[in-house]
Amino acid sequence: MRQASTLVLFFWFSGLLISALIAFFAVATFNGSGLASYLPSVGLLALAAISWLILPLHFKLRVLGLALIAVPYTWLLALFLVPFLIVFKISLSDIALAIPPYTPTVKDGFSALIQGLDFENFVFLTTDALYYKAYLSSLKIAVISTVLTLLVGYPMAYAMARAPQEWRATLMMLVILPFWTSFLIRVYAWIGILSNEGLLNQFLLWTGLISEPLTILNTNTAVYIGIVYTYLPFMILPIYAALDRMDDSLIEAAEDLGCSRLSAFWLVTIPLSKNGIIAGCFLVFIPALGEFVIPSLLGGSGTLMIGKILFEEFFNNRDWPVASAVAVILLLILIIPIVLFQKNQQKQAEAES
C-alpha cells in the first residue's frame, strides 16, 4: 500500500521536475528572447517545490535516499565516463583543419559518423617509431624507478618500524609532510641541485671527486631521481604498515629455531612484508608510467615518456585524434597493473578479515 503510494508520488514529483527542465531548455535553445517565455518552466518548478513541502516525510526520505546515489553517480557519469567515451570516439576520427580539429563530428549525422570512424590512428602509432619507443621507454623508466624507490624505501620503512614507539608518529609525519607540499616545487628543487653549475656539482668539485661537472639534469638519471624522490612516501607507507603489524616475537622465534639475523630477515620479515612491497611498487609504478611533469622538467629532449608525448601532440601539433589514440593505448597498458594491484589489495583485505 505504502510502496504503491510512494511510487505514484515519485512519478508525480519527478515528472514535474523533468517537464520543468525540458520546458526550460526548450525555451533556452529555440527562442531565448523574452522572460515571459520562461513562465511555464518556472510554474512547473514552483509546483514541484510546493508539492515537495506538502509531501509526506517517508516519501521525502525515499527521494533523498535516491538522490544520495543519483547525484554522485550522475556527476561521475557526466564528468568521467562520458569524457572518456569522447576521447575514445575522437581517437577513431581523422584530423581536420576545422574547429574542433577533427572529423567526423556529431553534426555530420549519425551514418557519416559511423562510417568516418576507423582505427587509422592506432595503425599510425604502430608504424611511427616515436610512439612505440615512447611506450617502451616509459615502461623502462617506470620499472627502473620503481625498483630504485623500493631500494631506498624499504630500509627506511624497516628502520621506522624498528624505531622506538614514541618516535614512530613523528617519523610518519616526516614521511607524509612532503606529500602535502607541492609536487611541482619538489621536482623544481632538483633543477638547482642537478644542473651543470648546480649544488651537487659544486659540492663534488669542491671535494675533488670530479674535475669536470657531471651532466645529470636533462638526462634519464635526473628523471629517475625525480621519480624516486616524489614517490618515495607511496613506497614507504604501505611497507611500513606491513612491518608495523608484524609481531617482533616472530623474529625471535626464527632466531630461536636456528636462523641467523640475515636469514631470519630473508625468511620471515621479507615474506611478511610482501603485500606492502607489492602495494608500494604499484603505487609508484602506475603514476610513474603516465608521468608528465618530471620528464618535462628534469628529462632532456632524449627522454621519451608517453605523458610528455601526449601533451605535446595535443598542444603543439594540435593533433587531437592521435593524442586521443595515445591516451587510449596508455590506458590499455595501465589496466594490467591496475587489475593486479586491485587483486593484491583484495587478497590483503580478505587475509585481514
Binding site: 628502520a159 612532503p178 618515495l232
Partner: protein
C-alpha cells in the same frame, strides 16, 4: 627500550636527508641576494618583496585558492555521499560501474583526465575558465575524498546507526546526528586532501584553464621551464612553510587528543 642498530640509524638519516635536503636548500637559496640562484651572494629578502609586488602571481594565487576552496567543498559533499552509498547500499543498478568510476580516477594518468575533460568542455561548448577547473578538480578529488571517508565508514560500528533508528531517528536524522559527527575527522581530512590536490594540480588545470584563469601551478610551471628563478624559490619557501606549520599543528592536536583519550581511559578504569 629498543635501540636502533647502526644500520637503521644510517637508513633513516640518509633517507630523510634525501627527502628534506632539496627543500631545505630551496628555502636557504630563497634568501640569496644574487639573481644567479646557485651562487651564494649574501642574505636578502628582496625576492619576497618582488614576489608580493608581482600582480600576475597574486592573481594566480587568488584564482588557485578560489578554485581549491570551491572544488574541495563540492568534492567533500559528493565524495562523502559516494562513500556512504558504496559502504552502506546493497546491490543497486550499476553498482560495479559506480565503484569503478570512484576508483578509476585515482590511477588514471592526469594527462588523460585532463585531455578527456577538455574534450568534453569543448564538445558542449563550455568556455574554459574558473568554472571548468572547478568541475575538473571536483571530479578527481571527490574520488580521493570518498576513499578516505569510506575507509572510515567501513570501521564504523553499524549498530550506532541502528541505535539511532531504534531511538526514533529517521535515516536522514541518524546520519546527521550520529554518523556525520563521528566520521567528521575523516570528512575534514578528505577536504584537506581535496584542497591540497587542487592547489597542487598542474596537468589537469593546464588542459582545462583558459587565458583568464591561470592558476599558481601553471604560473610556476611557465616560470621554471626557463630554469631556476629566485622568485619561485621565495614562493616555494612560503608554500613549504604554510604546509609545514599546518601538518605540525595537525599532528600536535591529534597527539594531544590521543594522550587525553588514554588518560580518560585510565581514569575510567579507576572509577569502576
Amino acid at each position: 627500550m629498543k635501540r636502533l642498530s647502526p644500520f637503521n640509524i644510517t637508513a633513516l638519516t640518509l633517507g630523510f636527508a634525501f627527502l628534506y635536503l632539496p627543500m631545505i636548500l630551496l628555502v636557504i637559496y630563497s634568501f640569496n641576494s644574487s639573481k644567479l640562484v646557485t651562487v651564494w651572494a649574501g642574505f636578502s629578502t628582496k625576492w619576497y618583496g618582488e614576489l608580493l609586488r608581482d600582480e600576475a602571481f597574486l592573481n594566480a594565487a587568488w584564482v588557485t585558492i578560489k578554485v581549491a576552496v570551491i572544488s574541495s567543498t563540492f568534492a567533500t559533499v559528493l565524495g562523502t555521499m559516494a562513500a556512504y552509498v558504496l559502504v552502506n547500499s546493497g546491490r543497486f543498478f550499476g553498482r560495479t560501474l559506480f565503484s569503478g568510476m570512484i576508483y578509476a580516477p585515482l590511477v588514471m594518468p592526469e594527462v588523460i583526465t585532463g585531455l578527456s575533460l577538455l574534450l568534453l568542455f569543448i564538445g558542449i561548448g563550455l568556455d574554459r575558465g574558473v568554472l571548468t577547473i572547478v568541475l575538473a578538480h571536483t571530479t578527481f578529488s571527490m574520488c580521493y575524498v570518498s576513499v578516505v571517508v569510506s575507509s572510515r565508514l567501513v570501521s564504523f560500528d553499524r549498530s550506532l546507526e541502528e541505535a539511532a533508528l531504534d531511538l526514533g531517528c529517521n535515516r536522514f536524522d541518524a546520519f546527521r546526528l550520529v554518523t556525520l559527527p563521528i566520521i567528521a575527522p575523516a570528512v575534514i581530512s578528505g577536504w584537506l586532501l581535496a584542497f591540497t590536490l587542487s592547489l597542487d594540480d598542474l596537468v589537469i588545470a593546464s588542459f582545462v584553464s583558459g587565458p583568464s584563469s591561470t592558476t599558481l601551478p601553471i604560473k610556476i610551471w611557465s616560470a621554471v621551464r626557463l630554469g631556476v628563478s629566485p622568485e619561485i624559490n621565495a614562493l616555494s619557501t612560503l608554500m613549504i612553510g604554510i604546509v609545514t606549520i599546518g601538518v605540525i599543528t595537525a599532528s600536535l592536536i591529534s597527539k594531544r587528543s590521543s594522550i587525553r583519550a588514554q588518560k580518560d581511559a585510565q581514569a575510567a578504569e579507576r572509577t569502576a
